[in-house]
C-alpha cells in the first residue's frame, strides 16, 4: 500500500499527479505508454477514484498525459520536457523564493547565500 502525506499540506490529487510525474521522469512510463487507471491508483493509495481521476486530469490538462477514449491515459510526447519546465517554473521557483525570504529574515547576504547553495551542490551539505 502506497503512503500519502496526509498532514493536509498538499491535496491528494496533486500528490498523485506528482508521483506519476516522477514515474515518468524515472522512465517507468515511456512515451505513448499507458499509465495507471484511476481505479488502479485508487487501489494503490486507498483513495476515492474520483480523486485519482482528478490527478490524472490535471496531467492531461498540462498535456503531460493524453486521453484515448475508453482506453485510458497515455504519456504524451515531450512529457519529460514539460514536467521539467513545469517544475522549474513552479516548484523550484517557489522553493527559491522561500530560501531567499528565509535568508532575508536571517540577514544573510547574497554572497553567503550563493556560497551555501554552492556548498550544497558540491555535496558538502549546508554548513
Amino acid at each position: 500500500m502506497a503512503i500519502l502525506n496526509t498532514d493536509g499540506t498538499k491535496p491528494i490529487y496533486m500528490q498523485i499527479a506528482e508521483w506519476l510525474e516522477t514515474e515518468i521522469m524515472n522512465g517507468h512510463f515511456q512515451t505513448d505508454e499507458k499509465v495507471y487507471s484511476q481505479y488502479q491508483l485508487a487501489e494503490m493509495y486507498t483513495i476515492n477514484p474520483a480523486t485519482a481521476a482528478k490527478g490524472l486530469n490535471l496531467l492531461a490538462d498540462e498535456n503531460i498525459l493524453y486521453k484515448k477514449r475508453g482506453l485510458g491515459m497515455f504519456v504524451s510526447e515531450n512529457a519529460k520536457e514539460r514536467i521539467i519546465q513545469k517544475r522549474k517554473n513552479q516548484t523550484l521557483k517557489r522553493l527559491i523564493e522561500e530560501v531567499v525570504l528565509e535568508a532575508r529574515r536571517l540577514k544573510i547576504g547574497e554572497t553567503e547565500l550563493i556560497d551555501m547553495i554552492k556548498a550544497s551542490q558540491s555535496g558538502g551539505g549546508v554548513a
Partner: protein, 300 residues
C-alpha cells in the same frame, strides 16, 4: 442517476425540530461522508433514508420511492450501526447465513474471508462480543451485503486503529470492484477523507454544505503572522476561525479567494500560509460562535 433526493425534509421529536427543511440529493455510486456535531440529526437522517422512521414533513425519495414501508428500499439498503440487533440464539456463522438469505447481492466467500481475517469464532454469540468486535462484525455484514445503498452510522465505534484502517481499505477495495452508493457518518473525517467523493456537512439540522471533498479542502486557508498584518489581510473576508497565539501572533482561517500574487505578497509580509485540513475546517464550520460562517451554507 440520483439514488437519494430529498427536499424540505423535516423531522420533529415533540416540539424540537431535529432536521429542518433539509434539501439535497446523492448520486449513484458515490461515497459520501456525513459530518456534523453530536445531536445535529445525522442518525435521524440516516434512519429516514433507510426507511426506519418517517419524516414529519417534506419529501424524500430513495430509488425513486418513499423509503418508509417500502420493500424495494428495504431490499436494497443496509443500515449498519452499533445497535444492529440479531436474534440472540444464533451463533455468528448462523447470522452470516441468515444475512445471506436476506440480501440478494450477499457474497458469502467475501464475508467468510473477512470473518476469518478478523479472527472471529463461528460459534460465538453476537451479544457477547466486545464493543470493537461488535462494530467489526456489523461492518462485515455491511460490506458483504453489497447493498446498492449502504449506510454506515459511526461504523468504527470501538475499533482499534488497525481494524479501522483495515475496514476503510476493505470498503474502498470492494467499492472499486462493486460500485455502490455508500454513506458514512463519522466524527473522524481525517481518517476517511481520502475515501470520500462528497461531504454532506450538517449544522443544527438545517444549514448544511454538500460538496466534493476536494472543494472542501480548497475552501479555506490558514494565515499566521503578526496580529496587525493578519487583521489587515482578513478584513472584508470571510473568517471561519481566529486564534490568538502569544501576545502578537494571530492565526486566522479564511475563505480561500486569494490569487497567486496575493499569496506571494502575503509571504513577503511575513505571513505563514498553511492549508486547513477538512476535519479542522468542519469543526470551524459547525462551531456555533464564529461570525460570518452562515454565509457559506446554502440559505434556506
Amino acid at each position: 442517476m440520483k439514488v437519494i433526493e430529498c427536499s424540505n425534509l423535516t423531522k420533529s421529536y415533540l416540539r424540537k425540530k431535529v432536521l429542518n427543511q433539509l434539501t439535497f440529493s446523492i448520486e449513484e455510486n458515490t461515497i459520501t461522508g456525513l459530518i456534523g456535531k453530536n445531536g445535529v440529526g445525522k442518525t435521524t437522517l440516516l434512519k429516514i433514508l433507510a426507511g426506519y422512521i418517517k419524516q414529519t414533513s417534506g419529501e424524500i425519495n430513495v430509488f425513486s420511492e418513499k423509503p418508509f414501508n417500502s420493500l424495494l428500499v428495504s431490499a436494497n439498503t443496509i443500515f449498519v450501526d452499533d445497535q444492529m440487533s440479531f436474534p440472540s440464539p444464533l451463533q455468528l456463522h448462523e447470522i452470516l447465513q441468515a444475512a445471506g438469505s436476506l440480501y440478494p447481492n450477499w457474497d458469502m466467500t467475501f464475508a467468510n474471508r473477512l470473518f476469518h481475517y478478523f479472527s472471529f469464532d463461528p460459534k460465538h454469540y453476537h451479544n457477547r462480543l466486545s464493543k470493537g468486535k461488535t462494530s467489526t462484525f456489523n461492518a462485515i455484514i455491511g460490506l458483504a451485503s453489497r447493498a446498492p445503498l449502504t449506510i454506515f452510522d459511526e461504523p468504527t465505534t470501538g475499533m482499534d486503529a488497525a481494524a479501522r484502517r483495515d475496514f476503510y481499505r476493505a470498503l474502498l477495495k470492494d467499492y472499486l470492484t462493486y460500485p455502490r452508493t455508500i454513506i458514512i457518518s463519522s466524527h473522524h473525517l481525517e481518517e476517511l477523507e481520502n475515501l470520500l467523493e462528497d461531504v454532506l456537512l450538517i449544522k443544527d439540522g438545517n444549514n448544511h454544505l454538500h460538496l466534493p471533498i476536494e472543494e472542501l479542502k480548497e475552501q479555506a486557508i490558514g494565515l499566521k503572522g503578526a496580529e496587525e498584518t493578519i487583521l489587515n489581510w482578513t478584513k472584508d473576508r470571510e473568517v471561519y476561525y481566529k486564534n490568538q497565539i502569544g501576545t502578537n501572533t494571530l492565526y486566522a482561517v479564511v475563505r480561500n479567494e486569494f490569487s497567486e500574487q496575493e499569496l506571494q505578497l502575503a509571504k513577503e509580509n511575513e505571513i505563514e500560509i498553511t492549508s486547513v485540513s477538512p476535519s479542522d475546517l468542519c469543526v470551524y464550520l459547525t462551531g456555533e460562535t464564529k461570525r460570518g460562517i452562515d454565509d457559506v451554507f446554502i440559505d434556506r
